[in-house]
Protein backbone atom coordinates (compact mmCIF):
# COMPACT_ATOMS: atom_id res chain seq x y z
CA UNK A 1 0.00 0.00 0.00
CA UNK A 2 2.74 2.41 1.08
CA UNK A 3 4.81 1.52 -2.00
CA UNK A 4 1.80 2.21 -4.23
CA UNK A 5 1.33 5.68 -2.74
CA UNK A 6 5.06 6.40 -3.13
CA UNK A 7 4.96 5.36 -6.81
CA UNK A 8 2.03 7.66 -7.47
CA UNK A 9 3.79 10.56 -5.73
CA UNK A 10 7.03 10.01 -7.69
CA UNK A 11 5.06 9.81 -10.93
CA UNK A 12 3.26 13.07 -10.11
CA UNK A 13 6.57 14.78 -9.32
CA UNK A 14 8.05 13.64 -12.65
CA UNK A 15 4.98 14.80 -14.59
CA UNK A 16 5.11 18.11 -12.75
CA UNK A 17 8.78 18.56 -13.62
CA UNK A 18 8.20 17.75 -17.29
CA UNK A 19 5.23 20.13 -17.42
CA UNK A 20 7.26 22.82 -15.68
CA UNK A 21 10.08 22.35 -18.13
CA UNK A 22 7.70 22.57 -21.07
CA UNK A 23 6.29 25.83 -19.66
CA UNK A 24 9.72 27.38 -19.03
CA UNK A 25 9.99 30.85 -20.52
CA UNK A 26 13.27 32.53 -21.26
CA UNK A 27 13.58 36.18 -20.39
CA UNK A 28 16.01 38.65 -21.89
CA UNK A 29 16.92 41.76 -19.96
CA UNK A 30 18.28 44.35 -22.37
CA UNK A 31 19.99 47.53 -21.28
CA UNK A 32 19.38 50.25 -23.86
CA UNK A 33 21.29 53.53 -24.03
CA UNK A 34 19.51 56.84 -24.53
CA UNK A 35 15.96 55.61 -24.11
CA UNK A 36 13.98 58.41 -22.52
CA UNK A 37 11.61 59.50 -25.29
CA UNK A 38 8.36 57.51 -25.42
CA UNK A 39 8.08 57.88 -29.19
CA UNK A 40 11.35 56.00 -29.60
CA UNK A 41 10.76 53.58 -26.73
CA UNK A 42 7.37 52.51 -28.07
CA UNK A 43 9.00 52.13 -31.47
CA UNK A 44 11.44 49.72 -29.88
CA UNK A 45 8.54 47.91 -28.22
CA UNK A 46 6.84 47.66 -31.60
CA UNK A 47 9.96 46.24 -33.28
CA UNK A 48 10.61 43.70 -30.53
CA UNK A 49 6.99 42.51 -30.50
CA UNK A 50 7.39 41.61 -34.17
CA UNK A 51 10.35 39.30 -33.44
CA UNK A 52 9.41 35.62 -33.76
CA UNK A 53 8.53 33.88 -30.47
CA UNK A 54 8.36 37.09 -28.45
CA UNK A 55 5.29 37.01 -26.22
CA UNK A 56 5.79 40.16 -24.20
CA UNK A 57 7.91 43.30 -24.09
CA UNK A 58 8.13 45.50 -21.01
CA UNK A 59 10.00 48.78 -21.18
CA UNK A 60 11.25 50.70 -18.18
CA UNK A 61 12.04 54.15 -19.51
CA UNK A 62 13.56 55.44 -16.29
CA UNK A 63 15.90 52.47 -15.87
CA UNK A 64 16.66 52.20 -19.59
CA UNK A 65 15.81 48.52 -19.53
CA UNK A 66 13.69 46.26 -21.70
CA UNK A 67 12.46 42.82 -20.63
CA UNK A 68 11.58 40.48 -23.49
CA UNK A 69 9.84 37.19 -22.72
CA UNK A 70 10.06 34.33 -25.22
CA UNK A 71 7.31 31.81 -25.93
CA UNK A 72 7.44 28.84 -23.55
CA UNK A 73 9.99 26.28 -24.65
CA UNK A 74 11.69 28.62 -27.17
CA UNK A 75 14.76 30.81 -27.15
CA UNK A 76 15.62 33.86 -29.23
CA UNK A 77 19.06 34.48 -30.68
CA UNK A 78 20.70 37.47 -29.04
CA UNK A 79 21.78 38.78 -32.45
CA UNK A 80 18.12 38.99 -33.46
CA UNK A 81 17.31 41.10 -30.41
CA UNK A 82 20.38 43.29 -30.93
CA UNK A 83 19.34 43.86 -34.56
CA UNK A 84 15.80 44.86 -33.56
CA UNK A 85 17.18 47.34 -31.01
CA UNK A 86 19.54 48.78 -33.61
CA UNK A 87 16.76 49.12 -36.17
CA UNK A 88 14.76 51.11 -33.65
CA UNK A 89 17.67 53.54 -33.42
CA UNK A 90 19.19 52.44 -30.11
CA UNK A 91 22.37 50.80 -28.83
CA UNK A 92 22.42 47.76 -26.57
CA UNK A 93 24.51 48.38 -23.46
CA UNK A 94 23.89 44.96 -21.92
CA UNK A 95 21.95 41.80 -22.72
CA UNK A 96 21.29 39.12 -20.15
CA UNK A 97 19.46 35.85 -20.75
CA UNK A 98 17.50 34.61 -17.77
CA UNK A 99 16.06 31.10 -17.91
CA UNK A 100 12.98 30.49 -15.81
CA UNK A 101 9.29 29.75 -15.79
CA UNK A 102 8.06 32.95 -14.25
CA UNK A 103 6.11 35.41 -16.27
Amino acid sequence: MFRGVMKVMVLMAVVSLIAGSAMAQTKYVIGVDGMSCPFCAYGLEKKLKKVKDVVSVTIDLNEGKVVVVAKAGTTIKQEVLRKAVKEAGFTVSSLEEVAGNDQ
Binding site: C37, P38, F39, Y42, G43, K46
Partner: protein, 326 residues
Protein backbone atom coordinates in the same frame (compact mmCIF):
# COMPACT_ATOMS: atom_id res chain seq x y z
CA UNK B 1 46.37 110.53 -45.45
CA UNK B 2 46.78 106.82 -46.19
CA UNK B 3 46.88 106.04 -42.45
CA UNK B 4 43.64 107.98 -41.92
CA UNK B 5 41.91 106.03 -44.69
CA UNK B 6 43.12 102.78 -43.20
CA UNK B 7 41.72 103.77 -39.81
CA UNK B 8 38.40 104.65 -41.36
CA UNK B 9 38.32 101.33 -43.22
CA UNK B 10 39.15 99.46 -40.02
CA UNK B 11 36.51 101.28 -37.96
CA UNK B 12 33.91 100.72 -40.69
CA UNK B 13 34.66 97.02 -40.78
CA UNK B 14 34.40 96.72 -37.00
CA UNK B 15 31.06 98.56 -36.96
CA UNK B 16 29.76 96.33 -39.72
CA UNK B 17 30.87 93.19 -37.88
CA UNK B 18 29.26 94.36 -34.65
CA UNK B 19 26.04 95.13 -36.52
CA UNK B 20 26.01 91.68 -38.14
CA UNK B 21 26.70 89.97 -34.80
CA UNK B 22 23.93 92.03 -33.19
CA UNK B 23 21.40 91.15 -35.89
CA UNK B 24 22.33 87.47 -35.72
CA UNK B 25 22.18 87.53 -31.92
CA UNK B 26 18.74 89.17 -32.01
CA UNK B 27 17.50 86.61 -34.51
CA UNK B 28 18.93 83.52 -32.82
CA UNK B 29 18.71 84.57 -29.19
CA UNK B 30 15.43 86.48 -28.90
CA UNK B 31 14.24 87.87 -25.58
CA UNK B 32 10.82 87.24 -24.08
CA UNK B 33 8.19 89.71 -25.23
CA UNK B 34 5.50 88.73 -22.75
CA UNK B 35 5.09 88.40 -19.00
CA UNK B 36 4.70 84.66 -19.39
CA UNK B 37 2.55 82.13 -17.54
CA UNK B 38 2.01 81.11 -13.94
CA UNK B 39 1.17 77.76 -12.42
CA UNK B 40 -2.43 77.28 -11.25
CA UNK B 41 -3.18 73.56 -10.91
CA UNK B 42 -1.83 70.01 -11.11
CA UNK B 43 -3.31 66.52 -11.01
CA UNK B 44 -2.19 62.95 -11.45
CA UNK B 45 0.34 60.56 -9.95
CA UNK B 46 2.01 57.37 -11.18
CA UNK B 47 -0.24 54.31 -11.36
CA UNK B 48 -3.12 52.59 -13.08
CA UNK B 49 -6.06 53.69 -10.94
CA UNK B 50 -8.57 56.24 -12.24
CA UNK B 51 -6.93 59.65 -12.20
CA UNK B 52 -3.44 58.19 -12.18
CA UNK B 53 -1.14 57.99 -15.20
CA UNK B 54 1.49 55.70 -16.64
CA UNK B 55 3.34 57.64 -19.31
CA UNK B 56 0.67 60.13 -20.44
CA UNK B 57 1.38 61.58 -23.89
CA UNK B 58 -1.41 63.67 -25.42
CA UNK B 59 -4.10 66.07 -24.27
CA UNK B 60 -7.15 67.66 -25.87
CA UNK B 61 -9.86 69.96 -24.55
CA UNK B 62 -13.52 69.51 -25.43
CA UNK B 63 -15.78 72.11 -23.82
CA UNK B 64 -15.47 71.64 -20.08
CA UNK B 65 -13.67 68.33 -20.41
CA UNK B 66 -9.96 67.56 -20.57
CA UNK B 67 -9.05 64.32 -22.32
CA UNK B 68 -5.66 62.70 -21.73
CA UNK B 69 -4.12 59.76 -23.59
CA UNK B 70 -2.62 57.56 -20.90
CA UNK B 71 -0.28 55.63 -23.21
CA UNK B 72 1.29 53.22 -20.74
CA UNK B 73 -2.15 52.26 -19.40
CA UNK B 74 -3.64 52.07 -22.92
CA UNK B 75 -6.65 54.22 -22.15
CA UNK B 76 -8.15 57.69 -22.49
CA UNK B 77 -9.05 59.46 -19.28
CA UNK B 78 -11.55 62.31 -19.08
CA UNK B 79 -11.42 65.02 -16.42
CA UNK B 80 -13.19 68.28 -15.76
CA UNK B 81 -11.09 71.43 -16.08
CA UNK B 82 -10.19 71.30 -12.40
CA UNK B 83 -8.74 67.82 -12.76
CA UNK B 84 -11.63 65.84 -11.26
CA UNK B 85 -11.74 62.38 -12.83
CA UNK B 86 -14.98 61.79 -14.76
CA UNK B 87 -14.58 58.58 -16.76
CA UNK B 88 -12.20 56.53 -18.89
CA UNK B 89 -12.37 54.35 -21.97
CA UNK B 90 -10.20 52.04 -24.06
CA UNK B 91 -8.20 49.00 -23.06
CA UNK B 92 -5.20 47.26 -24.59
CA UNK B 93 -5.93 45.54 -27.88
CA UNK B 94 -6.50 46.08 -31.58
CA UNK B 95 -10.27 45.69 -31.87
CA UNK B 96 -12.85 48.46 -32.03
CA UNK B 97 -12.70 50.53 -28.86
CA UNK B 98 -9.35 49.03 -27.90
CA UNK B 99 -6.11 50.99 -28.13
CA UNK B 100 -2.37 50.30 -28.21
CA UNK B 101 -0.16 53.15 -27.03
CA UNK B 102 -2.50 56.08 -27.70
CA UNK B 103 -0.33 59.12 -28.46
CA UNK B 104 -1.45 62.63 -29.44
CA UNK B 105 -5.21 63.16 -29.61
CA UNK B 106 -7.47 65.72 -31.28
CA UNK B 107 -11.08 66.77 -30.83
CA UNK B 108 -13.14 67.82 -33.83
CA UNK B 109 -16.89 68.04 -34.27
CA UNK B 110 -17.65 66.19 -30.99
CA UNK B 111 -15.35 63.34 -31.96
CA UNK B 112 -12.03 62.29 -30.45
CA UNK B 113 -9.29 61.23 -32.86
CA UNK B 114 -6.61 59.00 -31.34
CA UNK B 115 -3.25 58.27 -33.00
CA UNK B 116 -2.49 54.67 -32.06
CA UNK B 117 1.22 54.00 -32.23
CA UNK B 118 1.22 50.21 -32.12
CA UNK B 119 -1.98 49.65 -34.12
CA UNK B 120 -0.89 52.02 -36.93
CA UNK B 121 -4.26 53.68 -37.15
CA UNK B 122 -6.32 56.69 -36.19
CA UNK B 123 -9.35 55.62 -34.23
CA UNK B 124 -12.37 57.85 -33.74
CA UNK B 125 -14.53 57.88 -30.61
CA UNK B 126 -17.53 59.83 -29.42
CA UNK B 127 -16.61 61.95 -26.43
CA UNK B 128 -18.37 59.32 -24.29
CA UNK B 129 -15.90 56.72 -25.54
CA UNK B 130 -17.93 54.85 -28.14
CA UNK B 131 -15.72 53.79 -31.08
CA UNK B 132 -17.11 55.17 -34.34
CA UNK B 133 -14.46 54.41 -36.95
CA UNK B 134 -10.89 53.79 -37.95
CA UNK B 135 -8.58 55.26 -40.61
CA UNK B 136 -5.31 53.69 -41.71
CA UNK B 137 -3.48 50.37 -41.50
CA UNK B 138 0.13 49.27 -40.93
CA UNK B 139 2.59 49.99 -43.74
CA UNK B 140 4.24 52.65 -45.83
CA UNK B 141 1.74 52.93 -48.68
CA UNK B 142 -0.69 55.80 -49.23
CA UNK B 143 -2.98 56.09 -46.23
CA UNK B 144 -0.94 53.61 -44.21
CA UNK B 145 1.09 54.39 -41.10
CA UNK B 146 4.18 53.25 -39.29
CA UNK B 147 3.63 54.55 -35.76
CA UNK B 148 1.37 57.60 -36.14
CA UNK B 149 2.29 60.12 -33.45
CA UNK B 150 -0.28 62.86 -33.90
CA UNK B 151 -3.36 63.91 -35.82
CA UNK B 152 -5.20 67.13 -36.59
CA UNK B 153 -8.54 67.46 -38.37
CA UNK B 154 -9.59 70.15 -40.84
CA UNK B 155 -13.07 71.70 -40.87
CA UNK B 156 -14.30 69.24 -43.52
CA UNK B 157 -13.04 66.23 -41.56
CA UNK B 158 -9.86 65.67 -43.60
CA UNK B 159 -6.95 64.46 -41.50
CA UNK B 160 -3.32 65.49 -41.15
CA UNK B 161 -1.24 62.68 -39.64
CA UNK B 162 2.35 62.80 -38.35
CA UNK B 163 3.60 59.41 -39.56
CA UNK B 164 6.62 58.95 -37.26
CA UNK B 165 8.69 56.08 -38.71
CA UNK B 166 7.65 56.89 -42.28
CA UNK B 167 9.13 60.39 -41.76
CA UNK B 168 6.20 62.07 -43.45
CA UNK B 169 2.98 63.98 -42.92
CA UNK B 170 -0.04 62.65 -44.77
CA UNK B 171 -3.16 64.63 -45.62
CA UNK B 172 -6.08 62.24 -45.93
CA UNK B 173 -9.74 62.49 -46.87
CA UNK B 174 -12.22 61.80 -44.03
CA UNK B 175 -12.39 58.19 -45.23
CA UNK B 176 -8.60 57.83 -45.30
CA UNK B 177 -7.63 58.26 -48.98
CA UNK B 178 -4.37 60.09 -49.54
CA UNK B 179 -4.70 63.67 -50.83
CA UNK B 180 -1.00 64.57 -50.51
CA UNK B 181 2.02 63.86 -48.41
CA UNK B 182 5.06 65.88 -47.40
CA UNK B 183 8.40 64.17 -46.72
CA UNK B 184 10.09 61.15 -48.28
CA UNK B 185 8.56 57.89 -47.09
CA UNK B 186 10.90 56.05 -44.73
CA UNK B 187 13.78 58.51 -45.14
CA UNK B 188 14.58 61.19 -42.64
CA UNK B 189 15.87 64.47 -43.99
CA UNK B 190 17.01 67.92 -42.97
CA UNK B 191 16.06 70.01 -45.99
CA UNK B 192 12.89 72.04 -46.05
CA UNK B 193 9.87 69.79 -46.44
CA UNK B 194 11.64 66.74 -45.09
CA UNK B 195 11.22 65.33 -41.60
CA UNK B 196 13.18 63.57 -38.91
CA UNK B 197 10.56 61.65 -36.90
CA UNK B 198 7.56 64.02 -36.91
CA UNK B 199 5.46 63.59 -33.78
CA UNK B 200 2.54 66.01 -33.90
CA UNK B 201 0.48 68.38 -36.02
CA UNK B 202 -1.80 71.36 -35.31
CA UNK B 203 -3.82 73.78 -37.41
CA UNK B 204 -3.56 77.54 -37.63
CA UNK B 205 -6.77 79.59 -38.03
CA UNK B 206 -5.98 80.11 -41.75
CA UNK B 207 -5.80 76.35 -42.31
CA UNK B 208 -2.00 76.06 -42.43
CA UNK B 209 -0.66 72.94 -40.74
CA UNK B 210 2.06 73.21 -38.09
CA UNK B 211 4.32 70.16 -37.78
CA UNK B 212 6.46 69.22 -34.78
CA UNK B 213 9.52 67.96 -36.69
CA UNK B 214 10.75 66.42 -33.45
CA UNK B 215 14.28 65.21 -34.11
CA UNK B 216 15.10 68.05 -36.49
CA UNK B 217 14.49 70.26 -33.43
CA UNK B 218 12.22 72.55 -35.38
CA UNK B 219 8.70 73.51 -36.41
CA UNK B 220 7.66 73.46 -40.05
CA UNK B 221 4.50 75.08 -41.41
CA UNK B 222 2.73 74.15 -44.66
CA UNK B 223 -0.36 75.44 -46.41
CA UNK B 224 -3.46 73.29 -46.74
CA UNK B 225 -2.24 72.54 -50.28
CA UNK B 226 1.00 71.11 -48.90
CA UNK B 227 3.32 73.93 -49.92
CA UNK B 228 6.04 75.04 -47.54
CA UNK B 229 5.35 78.27 -45.65
CA UNK B 230 8.06 78.65 -42.99
CA UNK B 231 10.17 76.91 -40.37
CA UNK B 232 11.89 77.84 -37.14
CA UNK B 233 14.00 76.41 -34.33
CA UNK B 234 17.65 77.43 -33.74
CA UNK B 235 19.98 78.81 -36.42
CA UNK B 236 18.21 78.47 -39.78
CA UNK B 237 16.14 75.57 -38.35
CA UNK B 238 18.85 73.13 -39.34
CA UNK B 239 18.72 70.54 -36.56
CA UNK B 240 20.94 72.34 -34.08
CA UNK B 241 19.52 71.58 -30.64
CA UNK B 242 19.84 74.19 -27.92
CA UNK B 243 18.31 75.74 -24.85
CA UNK B 244 18.20 79.42 -25.86
CA UNK B 245 14.84 81.04 -26.51
CA UNK B 246 13.44 79.79 -29.80
CA UNK B 247 15.67 76.71 -29.89
CA UNK B 248 14.46 73.19 -29.21
CA UNK B 249 15.71 69.91 -27.84
CA UNK B 250 13.14 67.62 -29.50
CA UNK B 251 9.82 69.31 -30.20
CA UNK B 252 7.33 66.57 -29.31
CA UNK B 253 3.99 68.35 -29.18
CA UNK B 254 2.41 71.39 -30.80
CA UNK B 255 -0.83 73.30 -30.29
CA UNK B 256 -2.43 76.51 -31.51
CA UNK B 257 -3.98 78.88 -28.96
CA UNK B 258 -7.20 80.90 -29.26
CA UNK B 259 -5.26 83.88 -30.66
CA UNK B 260 -3.49 81.75 -33.23
CA UNK B 261 -0.17 81.57 -31.41
CA UNK B 262 1.86 78.36 -31.55
CA UNK B 263 2.78 76.48 -28.37
CA UNK B 264 5.47 73.80 -28.44
CA UNK B 265 6.33 71.09 -25.90
CA UNK B 266 10.13 71.32 -25.82
CA UNK B 267 10.84 67.82 -24.48
CA UNK B 268 14.47 67.73 -23.34
CA UNK B 269 14.46 71.42 -22.39
CA UNK B 270 11.61 70.64 -19.96
CA UNK B 271 9.64 73.70 -20.98
CA UNK B 272 6.85 75.10 -23.14
CA UNK B 273 7.62 77.77 -25.73
CA UNK B 274 5.18 80.19 -27.31
CA UNK B 275 5.52 81.77 -30.76
CA UNK B 276 3.51 83.96 -33.09
CA UNK B 277 2.06 82.12 -36.13
CA UNK B 278 5.06 83.56 -38.02
CA UNK B 279 7.50 81.86 -35.64
CA UNK B 280 8.54 84.90 -33.62
CA UNK B 281 9.43 83.90 -30.07
CA UNK B 282 7.07 85.27 -27.42
CA UNK B 283 7.60 83.41 -24.13
CA UNK B 284 8.86 80.25 -22.45
CA UNK B 285 8.05 78.68 -19.11
CA UNK B 286 9.06 75.64 -17.09
CA UNK B 287 12.30 74.03 -15.94
CA UNK B 288 13.32 70.52 -15.00
CA UNK B 289 11.97 69.22 -11.70
CA UNK B 290 9.06 67.82 -9.76
CA UNK B 291 7.77 71.00 -8.16
CA UNK B 292 4.77 73.07 -9.23
CA UNK B 293 5.47 74.62 -12.61
CA UNK B 294 8.40 72.33 -13.27
CA UNK B 295 8.44 69.53 -15.84
CA UNK B 296 10.09 66.23 -16.53
CA UNK B 297 10.04 65.92 -20.31
CA UNK B 298 6.68 67.44 -21.34
CA UNK B 299 5.09 65.76 -24.36
CA UNK B 300 2.06 67.84 -25.19
CA UNK B 301 0.30 71.14 -24.66
CA UNK B 302 -3.26 72.34 -25.28
CA UNK B 303 -5.18 75.54 -24.64
CA UNK B 304 -8.73 76.36 -23.62
CA UNK B 305 -10.75 79.28 -24.98
CA UNK B 306 -9.47 81.57 -22.23
CA UNK B 307 -5.84 80.97 -23.08
CA UNK B 308 -5.08 78.69 -20.11
CA UNK B 309 -2.36 76.21 -20.96
CA UNK B 310 -2.62 72.49 -20.12
CA UNK B 311 0.64 70.56 -20.21
CA UNK B 312 1.26 66.80 -20.17
CA UNK B 313 4.17 66.39 -17.75
CA UNK B 314 5.16 62.97 -19.09
CA UNK B 315 7.99 62.01 -16.73
CA UNK B 316 6.11 63.20 -13.64
CA UNK B 317 2.92 61.36 -14.70
CA UNK B 318 0.71 64.41 -14.27
CA UNK B 319 -1.08 67.28 -15.97
CA UNK B 320 -0.30 70.89 -15.07
CA UNK B 321 -2.32 74.01 -15.82
CA UNK B 322 -0.99 77.54 -16.30
CA UNK B 323 -2.61 80.92 -16.87
CA UNK B 324 -1.21 84.01 -18.57
CA UNK B 325 0.31 86.60 -16.22
CA UNK B 326 -1.74 89.68 -16.93
Amino acid sequence: MKMRNRHRYLIGTVILLVAVVWVVFQAWFPVSQERGYQFVNVWGSPGGAPGQFHEPIGLAIAGDHVLVSDAGNNRIQVFDRNGRFLHQFGREGSGPGEVARPMHIYVHNEKLYVAEYLNDRIQMFTLDGEPVGVVGSPGSGPGQFDAPGGVAVALDGSLYVADFYNHRVQFLSPSGELIWQIGTTGKKGLWTGLFNYPTDVALLPNGDVVVADAYNDRIQVFSSKGTFVRKWGGPLATNIPGSANGWFKTATGVAVGPEGNVFVADFYNHRIQKFTPEGEFLAAFGSQGEGPGQFERPTDVALDDEGNVFVVDFGNNRVQVFEPIR
